[in-house]
Structure formats: structure tokens, C-alpha cells
């Protein structure tokens, strides 16, 4: 009969044995060694029935299939683009996943994306060797052409997005900024400088205080105070302005639900 060796929701360190016996199954951040389950990262243990999961407290981004991320083009190859995805691994965007346009043999690929471009992409596959494949085909996946990029801790991304995207929607509504949060901790913002600064400080506040309860309320108070200070009229349909981009806001909602 298996048993847990540490309590649920406790902090574990890499190498710590978290469960014994074959009844528990290792998932993210936990691996099996003989008949023991061992933590591979620093984080909080989360036990769901027989599944043992680890919510990391620190560390780089680990690519996962289906994640929408923001990557930076670092190389243009014969068959596609290599991107830096703020991870230990780089990701490949192949020509056929990049555009539905016909690209002639030997065409200059920098016409589409070039060095230093930031792309909103989705991970289609991660192999056992951690080769990451990306796609640009999907709602909202595109090259970013203006705005500002900041980096946040990847393991705080779920808190920044919030339940059903509630947290980031709140920031968007309060500041009127357009925001895309990549699962890899790269965040794109675009808006009026003063409002963008409020959005950035809200993101930093979430990053720093995500472990303290009542986060949503505190961020709400913070945003209200800052917005009042700026004498801004908060637009309640942030991101929805500009009818030419009808599909975009819809995409945001979907993206943040991840």
C-alpha cells in the first residue's frame, strides 16, 4: 500500500521523496525511482487522487504542447525560423506552419520574419528530446509589430492570467492596454505610456505577491488607486476598440483560459 511521505501542499526540494509505493502516479515535476516518487524541482506538492504533481516555485519555462508563447526569432534557416522561447530549449517554426502563403523554393525567408522579430506562436509538439515545434496558424497568432516586451517569471504566469483570464482582463480594463501573456513568461503590452506603466507595475506586483492570499482584491485596489491618480477614464471595452481587429479580443479570451 502506498503512502504520501510529505503532506499535500507542502514545499518540497529536488530529490525529496514525496511518496512510497506504486499507488501514486508521478506527473509534472515528479519522477519515479524504484517504488518511490521523487521531486525534481523546488515547489508545492499537489496531490489529486492518485496523481502527484508539483507546482514549481522557481525555474525556467518548460515547453508544453498547446501553450501560446511569445518567441523571438534568433535564426533564419533553409526551412524555417529558430526562436528563443525564454527556455533552456529553442523552438523551430517551419515554413509550412508559418504561413498559408505559397513560399517559392529558395525565397528569402526574412521577408516573412527576420532576426529579432517577436512572434505570438503556439507549441504544436514537444518531443522526448525537447525539440519544440511551433505554429503560427491559429487565431491571434501573429508577428508583433509595436508595443513593448517584458519578461516575468514563467511560474507566475497562471496568477497573472487568473481564473478564466480574470486577472489580466482586470488589468486590461483598468488601463486600456492591449496585453498578451505568453505561457513562457514573455508579456507584450501596448497602450498609452502612463497606462502601460500602471499595467507593468501591476504585473510586477502580482509577480511579487502571488503567494499572499487576497491577491485579486489587492490588485484591484492598486489599479483603482493608480488609475485615479492618473485621472484616467477607464475604458471598459479595452482591447475591443478598433473594429478592424474583430477577431483579436476573442482570441485573447481564449488564450487566457489556458
Amino acid at each position: 500500500m502506498g503512502e504520501l511521505l510529505v503532506a499535500d501542499k507542502s514545499i518540497v526540494v529536488p530529490g525529496e521523496e514525496v511518496a512510497a509505493g506504486m499507488d501514486f502516479l508521478p506527473t509534472e515535476g515528479v519522477y519515479r525511482d524504484g517504488d518511490k516518487l521523487v521531486a525534481s524541482r523546488l515547489g508545492l506538492l499537489a496531490v489529486d487522487g492518485r496523481l502527484v504533481k508539483l507546482i514549481p516555485l522557481s525555474g525556467k519555462y518548460l515547453p508544453k504542447r498547446g501553450d501560446v508563447i511569445i518567441g523571438k526569432v534568433t535564426d533564419v534557416t533553409i526551412s524555417g525560423w529558430r526562436t528563443d522561447i525564454n527556455s533552456a530549449y529553442t523552438a523551430m517554426l517551419s515554413m509550412k506552419d508559418a504561413t498559408s502563403e505559397f513560399i517559392a523554393r529558395g525565397a528569402d525567408l526574412t521577408r516573412y520574419f527576420t532576426f529579432g522579430d517577436y512572434l505570438v506562436t503556439k507549441i504544436v509538439n514537444v518531443t522526448s528530446q525537447n525539440l519544440v515545434d511551433l505554429t503560427m496558424k491559429g487565431p491571434g497568432l501573429r508577428k508583433l509589430s509595436e508595443g513593448r516586451i517584458i519578461a516575468v517569471a514563467p511560474n507566475k504566469v497562471p496568477r497573472i492570467i487568473g481564473k478564466q483570464g480574470s486577472m489580466v482582463s482586470m488589468i486590461k480594463d483598468a488601463t486600456g492596454c492591449r496585453i498578451i501573456v505568453g505561457q513562457n513568461g514573455i508579456v507584450w503590452l501596448q497602450g498609452d505610456p502612463d497606462q502601460e506603466l500602471v499595467a507593468v507595475s501591476a504585473l510586477r506586483k502580482i509577480e511579487n505577491e502571488s503567494h499572499i492570499s487576497g491577491l485579486t482584491d489587492r490588485i484591484k485596489v492598486f489599479l483603482d488607486g493608480e488609475v485615479k491618480r492618473l485621472h484616467l477614464a477607464p475604458s471598459m471595452n479595452a482591447g475591443n476598440d478598433g473594429g478592424s481587429e474583430g477577431g483579436r479580443s476573442e482570441f485573447s479570451e481564449r488564450e487566457f483560459q489556458q
Binding site: Y118, E146, P193
Partner: protein, 256 residues
């Protein structure tokens, strides 16, 4: 993306704002801490926002250079440690490290910050050599000004070790300070597009058009300048940059 970054930064500059919320003529918070290392004769840690550098001063007795038999020696070395930025690599100092070292060196030398005549022990034979080593702990922009500030703060902190005419005893320190005559401060005024500003961040340094480092002693006297970046500067621009540098130098000097 650098063009886009530049365009976006310029858009912000147009509204008088920067990515971290500062105005164009504002420095980040400057913190100077003296006496941070045990083994150096003088040391200082300077933080400018997230940028952090440590400077150490070592004193030794050496033979003077043949052309200046009565003068002490001054040597400035800058290490851009790989831990301080993803862009820095281990190995021999590169162009950037050498430039920072030379700009700091020139600021101290040309301002005659140290009264080098007083470093003479025996003419043509023995003089005190002052070596300043600067290490970057975190490079978050504006290493030039932070390094120059750290160098001066470390000099100010330095005490002579015991010297009996033959050997220097680093174990026992005297109370005697270095003969410092002036306290030069460097201010780098940076230009992107048509905007001039001080204390650039990493993002701003990526898209700099040109920069002018001005070393200024107390009382607003200019003693050294270094121009960097690829774009030319007009005489009018240089004038405005110097005015800004002098104003900022007065603020920084108060912190020393």
C-alpha cells in the same frame, strides 16, 4: 525588432516618459556604500537602480615610469563579469570593458583627482601605485557612470598600509588617506533620435544613436569627454548634452 524597439522608445520619449516611468533627465536611485571588501585598501559598492558595481583600490610601491619619475602610478581595470549580464563572456577584456576602464581612468587622470606628486616615495625609484579594479555585479545599463562613481568612492575610502621603506604590510593599515584633490563625477548623456537623456537602461542602450560621457569636477569644471555610438553630434547638441551633464553631476556629487 531593434527598429521597432527604437520606434516605441521614441514614441515614449515624445511624451517625456521612459519604460521605467522616469523622465528623460532623471537618474535612477543612486546608493553608494563604502568599505565593502576586507582585502582592498579602499572599496565601494555603487548601485544605480538595478545596476551594481564594486570598486576596489590596491596600493603598492613600484618603480615610477621613466618619463614621470616623481609621479605615482594610476591603473584602472574594469571586469565585466559574465554573471552581471547575459551579453558578457568570460575571457580577456573586450572593447566595452576597455572603454569603460579608459573613460574612468581619463576622468581621474585629467581632473587631477589624485595629487600624484604626493605619491612619490623616492624620486625615480619608488612611488605608490594606485590600482583601481572595478567589477560589475549587475549590468542594468549605465555602467560608465556607475563605474566612475565607484572608482571615486573607493579612492575616498582608501587608507595607506604600513610601509617601512622595504615592504608593505597589508595586515596593518594606517589612518592616512590618499591625497585626493578633487572628486570628478562622470555623466553620460545619451541620444536616441532627437532626444537626449541620462542614465540609460539596457533596452535604451540597445538602440543608442550616440552618447557623450562628460567627466566633471566639483564646481562644474569639465575635465574629460568621450563620445560613443555611431551617429554624429552637432555643436548645438553637444552644448545641450554638456549642460545636462553638468546639472546632473552636481546632483551626483552631493551623494559622494
Amino acid at each position: 525588432m531593434n527598429e521597432l524597439l527604437k520606434a516605441n522608445i521614441l514614441k515614449w520619449f515624445g511624451k517625456g516618459k521612459r519604460y521605467d516611468g522616469r523622465g528623460l533627465d532623471e537618474f535612477r536611485a543612486v546608493v553608494i556604500e563604502q568599505g565593502v571588501t576586507k582585502n582592498a585598501e579602499g572599496s565601494a559598492r555603487v548601485k544605480v537602480g538595478d545596476t551594481e558595481v564594486i570598486a576596489g583600490v590596491k596600493l603598492s610601491v613600484e618603480k615610477p615610469y621613466p618619463d614621470t619619475p616623481k609621479d605615482g602610478n594610476l591603473l584602472v581595470n574594469v571586469e565585466l563579469l559574465p554573471l552581471s549580464s547575459p551579453d558578457f563572456e568570460a575571457g580577456p577584456p573586450g572593447e566595452e570593458a576597455i572603454e569603460v576602464a579608459r573613460v574612468v581612468d581619463r576622468g581621474l587622470r585629467e581632473s587631477k583627482a589624485i595629487d600624484i606628486r604626493k605619491l612619490c616615495v623616492q624620486e625615480g625609484e619608488k612611488v605608490w601605485a594606485v590600482s583601481i579594479d572595478i567589477c560589475t555585479i549587475n549590468a542594468a545599463g549605465n555602467l560608465l557612470d556607475a563605474s566612475a562613481l565607484a572608482a571615486v568612492a573607493a579612492l575616498k575610502n582608501a587608507r595607506f598600509p604600513e610601509y617601512d621603506g622595504k615592504t608593505v604590510d597589508y595586515k596593518s593599515m594606517t589612518d592616512k588617506k590618499l591625497p585626493i584633490a578633487r572628486f570628478p563625477v562622470s555623466v553620460t548623456v545619451t541620444k536616441i533620435g532627437d532626444s537626449i537623456f541620462v542614465d540609460p537602461t539596457v533596452e535604451e542602450e540597445k538602440v543608442v544613436d550616440s552618447r557623450l560621457t562628460v567627466a566633471i569636477t566639483d564646481g562644474g569644471r569639465i575635465c574629460a569627454m568621450q563620445k560613443g555610438g555611431n551617429s554624429p553630434l552637432s555643436i548645438d547638441e553637444i552644448g545641450r548634452m554638456i549642460d545636462l551633464a553638468v546639472a546632473k553631476a552636481a546632483e551626483l556629487s552631493k551623494q559622494l
